[in-house]
């Protein structure tokens, strides 16, 4: 449908946004627009109905009741000086202008394209043990990021939150610096009093929690030993894209996991 004929809704509150989204059928959501707008211009996306979240009041970061809550339309740039490893992951997205435009909710809903990984915040949020609150079919629901990623289609992200508190974190990435950055592979780690959480972006269509690595760490394995388990976690999901092959990702993933674990290992031992 031509853009002039699209039923365009600009909700003025979260409630209006949820109502407009309904069960999510045949609706295109535009938050920052960094992924959706090029698809519209290319004519690959021809929605009948579109919701523009610009004025829905879904942005902003709050810290209360022991939780950090990041609204869906919070720009990625707002995370750059915040909690790690989210801050480093945020700084590695695109460039400052794109980060000011792109949103946290959009990043959670974006999988890898055929030729490049995307969704760089996902691994950091998994490492932080974050929970996604979303609306859509069956009403509002909250779930861990890794669960949301396995079934994100048809959901409207409202916010993402994680426990506010001390933790040691690590971040290690393979990148190929060029004019418009995508990270090839990024490993995020976080250690709290309770547990160590490890996740990777770029090893599959969306980020993957490295549970075998976590289990090895819990079992007392050192970084090098635990890192070797990462390949079990990503078995079958590594793929080729324009930035790097599955072979290369397999080669460097254990090293990145080891580096990211070493960062929290040293911190914890201190």
């Amino acid at each position: 449908m031509a853009r002039a004929d699209v039923d365009l809704v600009l909700p003025a509150s979260a409630e209006e946004a949820v109502a407009a989204f309904g069960d999510g059928a045949a609706v295109t959501v535009v938050a920052g627009g960094t992924v959706v707008m090029p698809e519209l211009v290319a004519g690959r996306l021809r929605p009948e109905r579109a919701i523009l979240l610009a004025r829905a009041g879904l942005g902003g970061i709050t810290r209360e009741a022991g939780r950090v809550t990041i609204g869906a339309t919070t720009p990625i740039s707002a995370l750059e000086d915040g909690d790690e490893p989210l801050a480093t992951a945020a700084r590695h997205v695109g460039d400052p202008e794109v980060r000011a435009q792109a949103t946290v909710g959009g990043n959670l809903c974006t999988g890898a394209s055929a030729d490049a990984p995307r969704g760089d915040l996902q691994a950091a949020l998994i490492a932080l043990g974050a929970t996604v609150r979303s609306a859509g079919r069956g009403g509002e629901r909250s779930e861990p990021v890794e669960d949301f990623l396995s079934a994100s289609a048809g959901r409207l992200v409202l916010d993402v939150s994680y426990e506010d508190g001390p933790r040691q974190t690590g971040y290690a990435a393979a990148r190929r610096p060029h004019a418009h950055h995508y990270t090839i592979l990024a490993v995020c780690t976080a250690r709290t009093a309770d547990a160590v959480r490890v996740a990777v972006t770029g090893a599959g269509p969306t980020a993957i929690r490295l549970r075998a690595v976590e289990a090895a760490v819990a079992g007392g394995a050192g970084p090098a030993e635990a890192a070797r388990r990462a390949l079990d976690d990503v078995e079958g999901s590594l793929r080729d894209d324009a930035l790097a092959s599955a072979w290369y990702r397999e080669r460097v993933l254990p090293k990145l996991v080891e580096d990211a674990l070493a960062a929290i290992d040293g911190a914890a031992g201190a």
Binding site: A2, R3, A42, G43
Partner: protein, 455 residues
């Protein structure tokens, strides 16, 4: 006041920094239509059906151009140089690369044009595709081009570009060591920030004004005139201000088809490629496959060179035979090598056609010969500066095809780099010049190649 040698301000600098420089996409004319192309979705196929009837009925569609609308469908960019034509302006019987244009829709806006492109019925019978130039002459390779899988029309209808100089067998016999390597630079995109764009305006005088981003106004005008079978005074090319080209805008990629759409619709037509089309459908710098064996003495003289080059032309010839010939003329690089045996082939694949790009034909051979010379130095245990300085071309030395160098600067530029990075050289190297060879720099094997310098 001296103008030459002065750091005068860029003539167009103020226009650039005030955003007033007018590129093709910035030209505004009334009643303009926008164009979008139907392109091949596969690498290689026979076209068994092409029906635009449904697309033509879409509201806002003014013209759809296919091969049937082109007066001279097949024209070669280098016909004037004796290089025959092989590429249709719009695909007719088959498509040979993914992204090959088949039809162009001109409509009121880009959205409508895209809708119409999607509504064109295209039937294809997919064929096996060829991608590895090294296997193009294998007995079981699919034949993908009417001339066979490699270009057969060099002088005397040869299928190979040859250079022969001196006595190659003697050089290889006399060598202490022969070093062989394989060098493969990749295809790259030109990526001009300004995508390929044309705007064609039918004038009341029945002339066509063609706003073009070509790097070569008259060359492109000649290409359009040939396809349209009109004299040059029917056309007015407007341009000369280009948002980056790097060789890719010698292709005349948009002007002719846009002109046909303007003629058919009677309206101004703009065709502006998307970035995705630039990356995936526009021509590229060619991938090359080069094998070099150098016959060398243990004290670092290069006596002879054998070289085999395969140039990946993509689906059609375009400028590739020219590029390979230029490549062959420079396959000794900055050195004087008296005995040569070069064979080069322009090989067709089901890739987007490759074309000129910054350093055309020579970027590849500079990579191969220079890395190879470094390797030779390493094998012989000789300083790579010294090996280069010794073999560097000098005044009156002759090129691969027998032309004397008049003003070579290989020696001074190498010495300047050694100086810049602080690389120590023995006195006899430090004092070398580009002057004609004599004494120790004129060993027996180089005597015969020194020529006359005609200023």
């Amino acid at each position: 006041m001296k103008a030459v040698g002065a750091r005068l301000p860029r003539y167009d600098g103020v226009a650039h920094v005030t955003g007033r420089t007018q590129y093709v996409d910035d030209v505004r004319v009334p009643n303009m239509l926008w164009a979008k192309a139907l392109r091949s979705p596969v690498h290689h196929a026979a076209i068994t059906g092409l029906d635009t009837a449904k697309a033509e009925k879409i509201k806002g569609v003014h013209a759809i151009v296919t091969w049937q609308d082109v007066p001279k469908l097949v024209y070669g960019h280098l016909e004037a140089l004796g290089i025959p034509a092989d590429e249709p302006l719009l695909a007719k019987d088959d498509v040979r690369y993914k992204g090959q244009p088949i039809a162009l829709v001109a409509a009121e806006d880009e959205e409508t044009a895209l809708e119409a492109v999607a509504a064109i019925d295209l039937d294809l019978e997919e064929r096996p595709a060829l991608f590895d130039i090294r296997k193009a002459a294998d007995p079981d390779a699919p034949t993908i081009h009417q001339w066979g899988n490699w270009y057969p029309h060099f002088e005397n209808e040869m299928d190979v570009r040859q250079i022969r100089k001196g006595d190659i067998d003697r050089a290889f016999d006399q060598a202490d060591t022969i070093v062989k390597g394989v060098y493969r630079p990749a295809a790259i995109e030109h990526v001009p920030l300004e995508p390929q764009t044309a705007l064609v305006v039918p004038e009341p005088s029945s002339r066509l004004t063609i706003y073009s981003c070509t790097q070569a106004l008259y060359f492109s005008m000649g290409v359009v005139a040939a396809h349209l079978e009109v004299p040059l005074n029917r056309l007015k090319f407007v341009g000369g201000t280009v948002g980056g080209g790097f060789g890719g805008k010698v292709d005349t990629a948009t002007e002719t088809i846009s002109a046909l759409a303007a003629l058919k619709s009677g309206r101004p037509v703009k065709w502006r490629w998307t970035r995705e089309e630039e990356f995936l459908c526009s021509s590229t710098r060619a991938p090359w496959h080069m094998e070099i064996a150098d016959a060398v003495t243990k004290d670092g003289w290069i006596l002879g060179r054998k070289m085999l080059t395969l140039h990946d032309s993509g689906a059609y010839a375009r400028f590739s035979p020219y590029g390979l010939t230029k490549h062959s003329f420079h396959h000794t690089g900055a050195y004087t090598i008296p005995n040569l045996h070069f064979d080069g082939y322009v090989v067709f694949t089901n890739r987007v056609p490759t074309t000129a790009m910054r350093g055309f034909g020579v970027t590849s051979v500079s990579f191969a010969t220079e890395l190879h010379v470094t390797r030779v130095a390493e094998v012989l245990g000789i300083d790579p500066f010294e090996l280069r300085l010794k073999n560097a071309n000098r005044i009156a030395d002759t090129s691969p095809n027998g032309v004397s160098y008049t003003d070579p600067s290989t020696v001074p530029t190498i010495l300047a780099i050694a100086d810049a990075i602080g690389h120590e050289l023995p006195a006899d190297y430090r004092t070398m010049t580009r002057d004609s060879r004599a004494g120790e720099l004129l060993p027996e094997h180089l005597v015969a190649q020194v020529g006359e310098v005609d200023h």
